[in-house]
């Protein structure tokens, strides 16, 4: 089995290297063939691993090679394969494979075709290294490597000014998260003396009472500090407020990577990581409360912005932010299984929604404004139906995948007894309404109603080719059926021995108690508030955007201030731009001009130079430019020093 584990990331890497270094020689056809074969192999092998690990009940934990050994601490590259890893591997490789196939058509006319395939395969490799890791070093490697590929792909169209601004912003904001993450890893190294997951988790119970003093006079629990530092990393990667600002801008990249990286996989790395670290998070209620509150804020307030977006990709992007918030809330409520379950279902339906949006964008000749669309249903039936499935899954319509995962989250937050749980509950509940509203606002504006595009575009409207529609269909299937795995995954023992839940955190236990099979869960769901909130969101969107838009105008006129706030994204981008970007430049200039140039060079150096004016005067005179003059004076200098030493020391 070891060889298979190793073969999975390497086959993706191999394809990436071939397409990247020899893309020109291989040509387009061969480049996409090798990368797709690589990822397909990874996907098939992941299924084999899933079978071996999950169904046969095995776990694997072993090193691949030793990176370095210092002071007896092993820094290793190695794999920990358990149910969580196996699930992530299947999700990552499957979505990646779909995106690879989809790309053939989507990037068909792009001059960077081979480069694109190389990048997405490299991403798959990095993401696999991240989820398969058995230690913090490799976790950090994968963590930053996916960040690198994200950077390269957001800026894929490197001539576009907005794209190369967005990719720099994404990298820097993620680095703020990684800053906290690295400090968390450092704290683990210092107090646990190892970076190996299993070793670390083993020692957690011994270190519960350890406190550290960060600010003099304040004693903090070590575990709380570590958990919060690690969570800062998750906030960057999984785009939680206030480190979410990079994700909407990341839509500057080509749509396939928005689906793969910025919806289905990379952005869920934070959720994965916190779940992996559950033994650490579980021992700190403070940290869990922080996680829950940050998640709740993200879930609701980012959803609100989604309502006023007109760019088809940005609507989906804000929806992603909001859904990531849901997953984070679940983590805070100790409902890791629910969060991970939502991670999985979301990966399918959100990748589907993005790829469907891409399909619409192709048909619309790269027009992304939903106000210029409408009535696409009859031109693009497959895109239409798959989008409908994706949207219903997203809003949590009973029977669709998102229903099961989102309802589990809402229920467990309701059951949580931590500080902030009540606030979080209201946020996620209202968020359900908001989700349904923006999702179907977009859906109706794109596929129904008046055809608002220009005549030229209309005459060319047609369904996308098979390489696009097949992935859509392939993703639509799990967007429906994945939900029925709620039984084993959320309330069952799927994560037993992987995710640790403190018995005092009863959210999932209560969910289990009230669970009596899939159909009673659905029946119960139909009678619960989230369903009615979703339905009213959907209904309101239908009324406003298909029947009578007077209400929208009325609301717009009455609550223009609110629209402005949402349009400005709560002012966070401007704040960052002025305070952090502007502040750094101003500070840099100040330090350079006053510190380096005026104080050090101006006063001290040139001042001393004047003080030794005689010496430098002589030097200046012999600046003749002839090589032997320089050499002569240098040798003379050394001789003088030596002579002085020889005679000086005698005395």
């Amino acid at each position: 089995m070891e060889n298979i584990y190793l073969a999975i990331p390497l086959s993706a890497l191999f394809g990436s290297i071939l397409a990247g270094l020899f893309g020109r020689q291989l040509g387009r056809m061969l480049s996409h063939t090798v990368t797709i074969l690589g990822v397909a192999l990874a996907c098939v092998l992941s299924l084999v691993v899933f079978n071996h690990i999950v169904l046969d009940g095995n776990t694997y934990n072993g090193a691949v090679y030793t990176w370095a050994v210092i002071e007896g601490i092993q820094f290793e590259i190695g794999f920990l394969i358990d149910n969580l890893t196996a699930m992530m591997m299947v999700v990552v490789t499957f979505v990646s494979l779909m995106v690879h196939i989809y790309t053939i058509a989507y990037m068909h006319d792009d001059p960077g075709y081979q480069r694109f395939f190389s990048y997405i395969s490299l991403f798959t490799f990095s993401m696999l290294m991240l989820v398969m890791s058995n230690n913090f070093l490799q976790l950090f490697f994968g963590w930053e490597a996916v960040g690198l590929v994200s950077y390269l792909l957001i800026g894929f169209w490197f001539k576009k000014d907005t794209a190369i601004f967005a990719n720099m912003k994404a990298f820097l904001v993620n680095r703020v998260g990684d800053f906290g993450f690295l400090l968390g890893i450092a704290a683990i190294y210092v107090h646990f003396g190892t970076l190996d997951y299993v070793e670390v988790f083993k020692q957690v119970p011994n270190l519960l009472d350890v406190t550290v003093t960060v600010i003099p006079g304040e004693e903090w629990s070590l575990m709380t500090l570590i958990a919060i530092l690690l969570f800062i990393g998750a906030m960057g990667k999984s785009a939680q407020v206030p480190l979410h600002v990079w994700l909407p801008d990341s839509m500057e990249g080509p749509t396939p990577i928005s689906a793969l990286i910025h919806a289905a996989t990379m952005v869920t790395a934070g959720i994965f990581m916190v779940s992996r670290m559950s033994p650490i998070f579980e021992v700190s209620d403070t940290a869990l409360s922080v996680v829950m509150i940050i998640g709740a804020i993200t879930a609701f307030f980012m959803g609100l912005i989604g309502i006023i977006q007109n760019d088809i990709k940005r609507v989906v992007a804000y929806s992603t932010l909001s859904q990531l918030g849901y997953m984070t809330v679940a983590l805070g409520a100790s409902a890791y299984s629910a969060g991970l379950f939502h991670l999985m279902t979301h990966a399918f339906f959100k990748a589907l929604l993005f790829l469907a949006a891409g399909s619409v964008i192709i048909a619309m000749h790269h027009e992304q404004d939903i106000r210029k669309m409408g009535g696409l249903k009859k031109y693009m039936p497959i895109t239409y139906w798959t989008s409908l499935i994706g949207s219903l899954a997203l809003i949590g319509f009973p029977g669709f995948a998102g229903f099961f995962s989102k309802d589990s989250i809402v229920e467990s937050v309701h059951a949580s007894n931590l500080a902030g749980a009540e606030f979080a509950y209201w946020m996620v509940l209202l968020g359900v309404f908001v989700t349904a509203f923006y999702s179907f606002r977009m859906f109706f504006l794109v596929f129904h109603g008046k055809e608002r595009m220009d005549e030229h575009t209309r005459s060319h409207l047609k369904e996308s080719p098979l390489t696009v529609t097949i992935p859509l269909i392939a993703l639509a299937i799990p967007s429906v059926i994945a939900g029925y795995f709620i039984d084993p995954i959320v309330v069952g023992d799927f994560f037993k021995g992987v995710v640790f839940v403190d018995p005092a955190h009863t959210a999932i236990a209560e969910l289990k108690e009230g669970y009596h099979g899939v159909f009673s869960f659905m029946l119960h769901g139909i009678m619960a508030p989230p369903f009615w909130l979703a339905m009213s969101g959907l209904g309101l969107a239908w009324y406003i955007y298909l029947k009578n838009d007077a209400l929208a105008h009325f609301a717009y006129n009455k609550f223009r201030w609110m629209h402005t706030i949402l349009d400005k994204k709560y002012g966070m981008d401007s704040f960052n731009q002025v305070v952090f970007a502007g502040g750094a430049i101003a500070l840099g200039k100040l330090l350079w001009r006053v510190g380096d140039r005026f104080l050090i060079d101006g006063l001290i150096v040139n001042g001393s130079a004047k003080a030794v004016g005689f010496f430098s005067g002589i030097l200046r005179r012999i600046q003749t430019g002839y090589m032997y003059h320089y050499a002569f004076s240098m040798i003379l200098g050394v001789l003088v020093i030596l002579t002085w030493f020889i005679f000086g020391s005698k005395g």
Partner: protein
């Protein structure tokens, strides 16, 4: 290949004198066409001769290896004493390796005084090897000073318009720094003489009984000499000026090799000779290192000249070297144990080697652009990726290495130092880790403005991508940067025992 055949060769003398004598021959013959292949041959031969130093190195001992010992100036018991341990051996290899690349890099670019140019680099390479191999403090000092001569010449002759100012500044800084060191060395010789062992042997200096006041003065004189070299804030301002005026090869050697002599000096002299002063003044070094990381980082952000930007980035990266070297003391103060000190020191050493590759690559990349456009101003560029796609790949890779991306060598040292610094204090780790953000900010902003975007102007539109020679240089460096990032163990293992021994010396009070 069985390398044991070389075991009896005077390998260290060879790596010192082969390039020096070779350089002198090139200089005397002075043939502008023959100079290039001759220089390359000598550089490659020196590199090959240095390889057995690694393959035959015994990583299990901290004792000096490949030693050679001859009388030199018997009156003062000054010896021609050579030897390497786990600290100096990797630095010699870095030097012989870099010299090959520098000779290649100057191949077509240098059109005037070719023989002198090549000779200067060869001689410099031999002298630097001497610095790292010398086991006699006076021999060390001679190499230490002599090495500056070819560097002054390189900047003074092939440098930019403002080279005179830069050379004088460079000269004054380094001269003032090293004079105090010389005084200290002589002082210690006399202390030894009074105790009946008049010796400049560095190992003898370690054994000297020195009081705290004496140690502090000696420590400060070393700090001046090596702090200027590496350079540390606030004695760093010569470096950006020297870089800007130096030709590409000069910048590469300056950044990749010369700065390392400062770090090497701290390890070889300061810690083992003045451990008590190091403990007493550790706060000073830590503060200066953190200022380098944060303050210099912010200055790098606002630079408009590419070379200056990379020069400031070098200073910030060297902050990790001095931090890593001296962390042993705050770690001891905080935890009453020296566990973590080796990680910190390994980090400092790896950072030095890695920075040799990365800064070398960055300056070579800027050289590639400068050769074509004759401008170092960031604003003169834009959209280079459109016309130089292969170059762009390398540039982005090296930039990422410069930001410490895991998987590249730039990550390894910083990672180790940050981890170890958390042992000493949360806030030291906190400030050191800001490099993740600041370093990324100045590097990626540079990449954005130079590499990405629409083609900036007609000159950029006319750019030609890397030629074969440039490609080979870039590719070699890329392999080193990624190789060391993915697997640092071959480096850390050869240094481990030496560093442990050094930590023991450095934590052993002389009072």
């Amino acid at each position: 290949m069985d390398m044991s055949l070389f075991i009896d060769w005077p390998l260290l003398s060879l790596v010192i004198w082969l390039p020096i004598i070779g350089g002198i021959v090139v200089l005397i013959v002075g043939d502008r066409h023959g100079a290039r292949p001759a220089a390359l041959l000598i550089a490659v031969a020196t590199f090959l001769v240095s390889l057995p130093l690694y393959t035959l190195f015994d990583p299990l001992t901290a004792a000096m290896q490949f030693t050679e010992n001859h009388e030199w100036i018997p009156t003062f018991n000054i010896m021609y004493y050579l030897g390497v341990d786990g600290i100096s051996m990797p630095l010699i290899l870095l030097n012989t390796f870099t010299t090959v690349l520098v000779v290649l890099a100057g191949w077509e670019v240098i059109k005037e005084r070719v023989a002198q140019y090549m000779a200067a680099f060869l001689i410099m390479s031999g002298l630097v090897n001497g610095v790292f191999a010398a086991q006699d403090a006076m021999l060390f000092y001679v190499f230490f000073e002599a090495m500056l001569i070819p560097m002054f010449l390189v900047i003074g002759i092939w440098g930019g318009p403002n080279r005179v100012y830069a050379t004088i500044k460079f000269f004054l800084y380094t001269f003032i720094g090293s004079v105090f060191m010389l005084v200290s060395l002589i002082y210690m010789y006399n202390v030894g003489a009074d105790a009946g062992n008049a010796s400049f042997w560095i190992q003898d200096l370690y054994k000297l009984k020195l009081g705290l006041t004496e140690q502090i003065f000696i420590f400060l004189s070393f700090l001046l000499a090596f702090g200027v070299k590496i350079p540390m804030w606030p004695v760093h301002t010569w470096l950006p000026d020297a870089h800007v005026e130096a030709p590409t090869g000069g910048s590469v050697i300056l950044a990749a090799i010369m700065l390392k002599i400062g770090g090497y000096g701290f390890l070889r002299f300061s810690l083992p000779i003045t451990p008590d002063a190091s403990l007493a003044l550790d706060w000073l070094i830590i503060v200066m290192s953190l200022v380098a990381i944060v303050y210099i980082g912010f200055i790098a952000i606002v630079q408009t000249d590419m070379k200056k930007l990379v020069a400031y980035s070098s200073i910030a990266h060297m902050g990790f070297v001095t931090l890593g070297i001296f962390l042993i003391y705050p770690i001891f103060t905080a935890t009453n144990s020296i566990v973590g000190a080796e990680l910190a020191m390994q980090g400092a050493m790896v950072q030095m080697i890695s920075h040799g590759f990365i800064s070398g690559a960055m300056f070579l990349s800027i050289g590639v652009l400068y050769d074509r456009m004759h401008s170092r101003e960031i604003s003169a560029y834009g959209g280079v990726a459109n016309t130089m796609p292969i170059f762009a790949v390398f540039f982005v890779l090296f930039a990422m290495a410069n930001t410490g991306l895991p998987g590249t060598s730039g990550f390894v040292g910083e990672f180790m130092v940050i981890l170890a610094s958390f042992k000493a204090s949360f806030w030291i780790a906190f400030l050191a880790a800001t490099t993740l953000i600041i370093g990324a900010a100045y590097t990626l902003w540079l990449v954005k403005r130079v590499i990405f975007g629409e083609i900036g102007n007609e000159k950029v539109a006319a750019l030609k991508d890397l030629n074969k020679r440039e490609f080979v240089i870039m590719f070699t460096l890329a392999v080193m940067v990624i190789g060391l990032g993915l697997w640092p163990q071959p480096l850390t293992d050869v240094m481990s025992v030496t560093l442990q021994h050094l930590i023991e010396q450095a934590s052993h009070s002389k009072l």
